[in-house]
């Protein structure tokens, strides 16, 4: 029994997002009318499924020590292409095309970062404007969807949960499996934690980085396709201006180190659900719109602070407070 207890506290200490999530959940349940209901939870999940996929991809890149600012506009581009090309080449081919495009973009990002050694921030920032440009060259207006079946896909549900939620969960689980069970996953942690040691240990760091960018962009493409299905249309403004920041925020809020090497997919899920809950709560609270950003901003900071407090309690007392982050500042 005490074993179980220590196990639980141990887990809680490491995953600060769990207690944070629970606190937010309990507060919302007690104080907000209509929050605690199955329908509402399904709502929250459904509203965040696409963001979840975006964040799942971002987790890989962040674990690797980078971030990808181009996912938002890439998502817009793939979304527009999927919808726009469906009447021309058919639904399945256009989805495949969008997904391939996502992967190809990731490949290019990765190659630029590893082979040409251009700063990832610059590469993906450039990507952000480039994809936006291409999207608008392709269409300047919202494109209407033409496939009923495709639309119905995202409206359907299975065991009470909307299909997009299942897809999102599948991605998260799959992502966690890749992180935990494959060499690529472990190499990602190693490269993110200490790039030169990873290199010296014979890990093909470049390949790891490239693959992670591919995963991230691919996920963005998937999210784009899913939005296309959800909206039964695609707008060139999708993902602009801050989809990438929201994804990064979910990942970092979950507890994954922004500098890489520490974190996992469940943290991301926790961060995502926490953010989703807060958003939902604000809708239910009927706050005047001015308060939205205010409350969100304050909550972000409080959550971050709680994270630090919980983390500090969790470090074993002996020799723990030596400020010795590997190479960056202690940003966690």
């Amino acid at each position: 029994m005490s074993n179980l207890f220590t196990w639980i506290t141990e887990k809680f200490r490491k995953n600060t997002i769990i207690p944070i999530f629970l606190i937010v959940f309990l507060v919302c349940s007690f104080f907000i009318d209509k929050f605690f209901s199955l329908g509402n939870f399904v709502n929250i999940l459904g509203q965040n499924a696409e963001k979840g996929i975006l964040a799942a991809g971002m987790t890989f890149v962040i674990l690797n020590g980078y971030f990808d600012l181009s996912v938002g506009t890439l998502m817009g581009l793939t979304s527009c292409l999927t919808v726009g090309l469906t009447p021309v080449i058919g639904l399945i081919p256009s989805i495949l095309l969008a997904l391939c495009l996502g992967a190809a973009v990731g490949l290019i990002n990765g190659l630029l970062v590893t082979k040409l050694k251009i700063n990832a921030f610059i590469v993906t920032l450039a990507g952000m404007t480039i994809f936006r440009g291409i999207t608008y060259m392709y269409t300047q207006q919202t494109v209407r969807g033409s496939s009923k079946a495709f639309y119905e896909l995202s409206r359907g549900s299975f065991l009470g949960l909307p299909n997009p939620v299942w897809i999102c969960l599948a991605f998260i689980l799959l992502g966690q499996a890749v992180l935990y069970f494959t060499r690529h996953g472990r190499n990602t942690y190693a490269a993110g934690g200490n790039m030169s040691s990873a290199q010296n240990a014979g890990i093909n760091v470049d390949r790891t980085v490239i693959l992670n960018f591919v995963i991230c962009s691919f996920c963005a493409a998937v999210a784009g396709v899913m939005y296309a299905s959800k909206f039964n249309s695609a707008s060139p403004t999708l993902g602009w201006p801050d989809a990438h920041m929201l994804a990064i925020a979910a990942v970092v809020l979950g507890g994954t180190k922004l500098s890489g090497g520490y974190g996992n997919m469940f943290y991301t899920l926790g961060g995502l659900c926490t953010l989703g809950m807060i958003n939902n709560a604000m809708n239910l609270l009927k706050l005047s719109s001015y308060y939205n950003t205010l409350v969100m901003g304050i909550i972000l900071i409080i959550v971050l602070y709680m994270d630090i407090v919980l983390r500090e309690q969790s470090v074993p007392s002996k020799r723990a407070n030596i400020p010795g982050a590997p190479k960056k500042l202690q940003k966690e």
């Binding site: 920032l125 950003t293 901003g297 602070y305 960056k328």
Partner: protein
């Protein structure tokens, strides 16, 4: 000349400082909007001098809050300032009631001369901007504060072990950032004569891009205000060039992204030719 008048260039020096200290300040865009709106609202009530003082004070206050959270509580600067961005945005709406703010009876005020006047044939804004860049660069490269800031960005822990007050320095960079952004907001108000609530939206990313283009390291420890200035100028000149060529905006975005990549690439190659084998950092 008009290129140098962009607001982005005026918030580049302080953004460079924050980045050199190893942090990000994503709240500059919203602080810019806020101060532009506030200075106009207050101008109409308490006159230019008091309004300007109050706005600068608010800028410092915002910077102080982010700075304390990042410097002393060691929260992640990216998320803290993302939060600050939301908070300041909301405050902007409270101040303006969500509507545009317009300068009243300002036609003859010297206040407008800041943004619209000339010193000789050079716009006042350009003069102010060049002076700021020069001061920030000299402070960075020549003073104790600057040297210590560079070392904090390079290795915060080693700096702390060397008798450098790293927390204070980091906090200071944010305070400076808030203050300079507020000043930029005042100048913007004077130039445009009115303010929308979202006037500075998205500026932070453009400025960071310029600073990085100017060769600053994203992880801190290196960078230069003058080069950041040039970085942003490059972006602006490109922008102007595209319009001159009559490119539609979509093509502009595309070309903009591509050219940034090319510029960085060429820059890197030439640097690499000079120093080989310097341990390649990440991010």
């Amino acid at each position: 000349m008009s290129t140098i008048r962009t607001t982005k260039i005026r918030i580049a020096p302080n953004t460079t400082y924050v980045i050199i200290g190893g942090n990000f300040d994503l709240s500059v865009g919203s602080i810019l909007s806020f101060s532009t709106v506030l200075v106009i609202q207050l101008f109409n009530i308490i006159g230019p001098v008091a309004a300007m003082l109050a706005v600068v004070f608010m800028g410092i206050l915002f910077g102080l809050i982010s700075g304390l959270l990042v410097g002393y509580l060691r929260l992640n600067s990216m998320i803290v300032t993302l939060g600050m961005m939301g908070i300041v945005q909301a405050l902007t709406y409270f101040v303006s009631g969500g509507k545009n703010s317009v300068l009243k009876n300002a036609e003859t005020s010297w206040f407008l001369q800041i943004g619209q006047g000339f010193v000789g044939f050079i716009p006042t804004l350009v003069v102010i901007c060049l002076i700021t860049v020069a001061i920030f660069e000299i402070v960075l490269k020549r003073t104790v504060f600057g040297s210590q800031l560079m070392s904090v960005g390079g290795n915060q822990i080693a700096s702390r072990f060397s008798g450098v007050n790293d927390r204070k320095l980091v906090t200071l960079t944010f305070i400076l950032s808030g203050m300079m952004t507020a000043i930029a907001g005042i100048m913007l108000a004077s130039r445009v004569g009115s303010a929308q609530n979202a006037i500075g939206e998205g500026y932070e990313m453009d400025v960071i891009a310029g600073v990085i283009l100017g060769g600053a390291s994203l992880t801190g420890g290196s960078g230069s205000v003058v080069k950041a200035f040039i970085g942003i100028l490059i972006l602006r000149v490109l922008d102007n060039g595209f319009v001159m060529m009559g490119l539609p905006y979509s093509t502009q975005w595309l070309a903009n992204g591509l050219i940034i990549l090319v510029v960085v690439c060429v820059d890197l190659q030439s640097k690499r030719a000079k120093i080989q084998g310097k341990g390649g950092g990440k991010a």
